[in-house]
Amino acid sequence: METYVILKLIWTLLLGVLLVGLAVMVGMDMGVGTLLRFVGRSDAERRATLNAIGPHWDGNQVWFILGGGAIFAAFPTLYATSFSTFYVVMILLLFSMILRPVAFEYRSKVDARRWRGAWDWAFLISGAVPMIVFGAAIGNILEGVAFHFSWDGQYYQDQSFIWYLLNPFALLCGVMSLALAVYQGGAMLMMRTEAPIAGRARGFAMAGGWLAALLFAAGGFWVARLPGFVLTQPVDPGMPATPLVGSGVAMAVGAWLSNFYIAPLLWIAPGLGFFGMIVGPLALAARRPAWGWWLGALAWVGTIFTVGFAMFPFLMPSTTAPAQSLTVWNASGSAYNLSWMLAFTLVFAPAVVIYTGWAFRIMRGKVKTNAIAENEHSY
């Protein structure tokens, strides 16, 4: 295989890793934000909830920023097309996301009921909306997106944004993503807060995990009846990366499952997903939140890789111009670019993992309510 093909494959895999990192780390904080109003009944409890992720949310959020940057560089056409086609939804995501850093820093700096209450609502919005949008975006991509390109590479949108917002399959994916986030956030709260917050978090997390399993199964059956996309002609994987040339693509009901029939080993991904979603809540029931947290991460790995395996090699198929569908072969960066980015990833990704782990170790242990009152910088 030529180097360029290997690079494209590596970056597809890294895209998956990136989405998992984003879903686990940002999803956890989103889950905590969503749960804030429900697990914390008094102001002291809410502050304990926030400070459980206080030292880490900022670092975790970089997964989201890195997601934008890495897709921009590794799959420029995907970045250019997907965010523009999903414009209104993406802007809603941004509006809700940018509330969050401000909410963290500002909420507890003024001791007034209405001020803090307003920011608590901001946490709910900025936790739930992004996770729903994240899941719904993946759902929409599975269904195919209506766009085409003109000769110079400009995309044109062929469908109203209302469809991307109110579309039953996408909503199902959105709710599932929120459920998993609630699960992950609840597991984190069990580790880092005391009773009664931890107990309430456990209830929500278990419900979230099992709800996710149910929706994952429902989504699977739905996908089997959904028109998927297949390549009708062989494509040269080492082709220059442009969707403008066009490749033979057909839509067929159930086509998203064809990869699983070709390589049955791929069933391991949904298997891992179900395992995490079903066994994880049991671990929480047995009061082993650390186990539960890692099982939640496993559930995300299973879910995201299931979608990836189903769609491969498609990244964003087009319903109105299927030949111009974006695939990992025609939407990636150049070989030179992908190699440089890989070099940086090999050096800095392990470093990020090491110092993030160190930061979590330094701040480990349960958040004490009196410690919050004493620390000048508490949220």
Binding site: G54, I65, A70, Y79, A80, S82, S84, W151, S334
Partner: protein, 536 residues
Amino acid sequence: MIDATVVELSRMQFALTALYHFLFVPLTLGMTVMLAAMETVYFITGKPIYKEMTQFWGKLFGINFAIGVATGLTMEFEFGTNWSMYSHFVGDVFGTPLAIEGLMAFFLESTFVGLMFFGWDRLSRPAHLAVTYLVALGSNLSALWILIANGFMQDPVGALFDPDTMRMEFTSFSDLVFSEDAQAKFVHTSIAGFVCAAMFMMGISAYYLLTRRHREFAARSFRMAALVGVIASLAVITLGDALGRADYLLQAPKIAAMEGIWDTTKPPYEPWKLIALPNDAAQRDLFSFGLPYVLTPLVTHTFDKPIPGILELESDAKPRIVRGIQAVLALHAYATTRDPVALAVFRQNESDMGYGLLAQRFAPDQDLAKITAAELPTILDLTARETIPNVFVEFWSFRIMVALGFAFLAVFAFGAYYSLRNRLERHPFLLKLTMWSIPLPILATEFGWITAENGRQPWTVFGWLPTFQSASSHALGYMLFSLIGFALLYSSFIAAELYLMFKFARLGPEGRAAHAPPQPGPTLAGAPGYADKPWQ
């Protein structure tokens, strides 16, 4: 057909969100370095007052940092949501520094900022110092990669256009990273951040000195800030000069607009315009007054080299536009037919392709193929005019920035002098001046941003991709929705930010947040026994 209104609204949205983001960034760049400096003194001397300083200024830094991070999220995604053609065209080279920024710099900064705030009793003194330094390093490395990306827009080096993929492809990492524009711009911007932070610290300290509160605390903060300010404002001026020279060599229209040069200069007499009223429509000054013999050495660093004026640049552009139109037509033919003859024609005129794209908006139906011989001269005129940025805006934003820069140097110099002699409190006028100067460096950086980016117009990638072609093909309603949303959200943020900044600056280092009861015991920093009661 590209809708000009949508392009204008997209530009407005990007300018608003970027200018807004940039209100908070310079302070972050500088404050992290100032925090590192203060904690260094704490590390060396062990005096608790320096720990208190690091924590108090750290709190104000945190209020600012939160909005910087929040509004930065918008920037990372706005290229994709609003500039799809741009993202497609240069993502292969422009996206890379953004991705590296996240991986190498922003992770570092954001992970350690949590430890910096929360890790005081969990980390040893050297470990905490190292964490603070890593935050400072991370924030400035962020700026480095972002400005490398911006440098590519100003001077696209390290990439070549590929007609097969219809985009610019990355060809040289070292050319991109060591681009002259990126280098000078990074240092200029980062150090301008130090100036903002120094003025911020100095101004708030001056307020305490004026009200005779927290005097020991304020005198130390003032001293450190003033010293940083003197060196940093000297460096900013030096780097501004270096950037100006880079522009002279690489972006002639920008320098001509900045200095309001309509006719090519006659060295060495040519005056440097102190004030003028440039009229873009008539392409002349309504009024101008300048210092003779200054302009030529200032811009070219010689006494004999002329600086091309706007009128000459416009007539030089016309042959390039003609070749550019050929290039775009050939490219279109090649894209649809893969005809090698078309490719050969394209290759001949490739370097002028951008000028052909620039002419597109003036062509009938925005289609270059429909231009008749009779229409060509008009279209050439219009396109040539289009290659020049708005002179009035460029001229004045540059002048305001420069004037403020020199004013800061004077304020810092006096401040440092009286602080070193411990005579600050005898000069309330200077203290008041510093206090009222707090927002000015931030204003100056905003004008600097306008100088750099308005001067780049009409291009998003200088000489290659016009702004008009770069935007996403959105419906008008989408743009109104996002613009109104950003305006509402950002205005409420700034209200909250200013409210908290004033509140905590007024409270001062001894003020506890409202929820924690004031603790008994010595409040004067440095008093005996204070060290036994760490501040937290």
